[in-house]
Symmetry: C2
Subunit: 194 residues, 2 copies
């Protein structure tokens, strides 16, 4: 059940976990299955769960006045999902998170984290590593949106996260990249032709 997560943590820390550490993880994280289109979080709710995706695909997005979805985060196997700000500070979320396919998660609540993992020193390291990596990725994304054209941003995604392109339909990718589906369609036409 928890092998995927344990393997993942092992890889992040570049060391194996002790039996105690594994046991703590198994106690803290509970399996949760979401059907396609099911919400993990809705705007206005406090995010009670942080999840590790064992299988499936999810998206995090906001919805504007006109009902348009604006996709901020895409996540597939071996990614984390959840609104961290809402989760850690207990404030209402501005986002929706839902399953784009049937998705199998391992989720943890704040209470289970406190109870089983907060005293584990390896967790401070793991959380630091994950936060640092995420902040590097996001800085690149800020830089990309400031400096690259729509076409270059697509090329960048193709290079950095090709899996997303196979996994999500174009209108989702377009929103993630900060352009309309029409623009993405035209851009793809160009680069395929050349």
């Amino acid at each position: 059940m928890h092998e995927a997560l344990i393997t993942y943590i092992h890889a992040q820390l570049t060391r194996v976990l002790s039996d105690d550490e594994k046991a703590a993880i198994e106690k803290a994280f509970k399996p949760k299955k979401l059907r396609k289109h099911q919400y993990l979080l809705q705007e206005g709710e406090v995010c009670k769960l942080a999840g590790f995706i064992v299988k499936g695909a999810m998206k995090q997005y906001s919805v504007d006045e006109t009902g348009k979805e604006n996709i901020l985060v895409l996540a597939i196997e071996n990614w984390w999902i959840g609104d961290r700000e809402s989760f850690s500070q207990g404030m209402p979320s501005a986002y929706f998170i839902d399953a784009f396919e049937e998705t199998h998660l391992l989720v943890i609540t704040k209470e289970d984290y406190e109870k089983h993992l907060s005293q584990q020193p390896f967790m401070a390291d793991l959380l630091r590593i994950l936060a640092e990596r995420q902040s590097l990725q996001l800085l690149k994304r800020v830089h990309a949106t400031k400096t690259l054209s729509a076409e270059q941003r697509l090329a960048d995604l193709e290079k950095s996260y090709p899996a997303f392109l196979q996994r999500f339909p174009q209108h989702i990718i377009a929103s993630y990249l900060g352009m309309t589906k029409e623009t993405l369609s035209r851009i793809r036409g160009n680069s395929t032709k050349k």
Copy 2:
């Protein structure tokens, strides 16, 4: 000399530091003064220093083919500065970092970190807290550039970091916000008039 940094760390950790911990900080961080326009880092170099700004103001930016500066990060007192990716992975940086005013830093090298701070458990917590905060800020910034107009982004900055607006000239702010100085000028005209 190091009081500002110690006070800052104290605030982040929400606990006081022991004399030992303070001593480790004082050994690891060295004062460094930069004159106006002096570089801390240039594109292509490996970032050897991470700095805490005691007094002054700095900017991190890339320069495109046409010579245009694209400002990614602005930092003033009590902010950190440095290219983390280059610093921690030893790769050549894509960015310039320079002092916008005469600036007084406390800087640390990787070697001094390893020697004096890497065994200190409080550092894992501090680094985690900083990385988590940064990643929340960056996610907001990604969201803002995806969903807000130039005018709304300015309003957002006025609300979130008013100090920047007093500290940096408009063409710097404009670049940081991802617009031209002309657009910023016109936008300010609008909101002032109303």
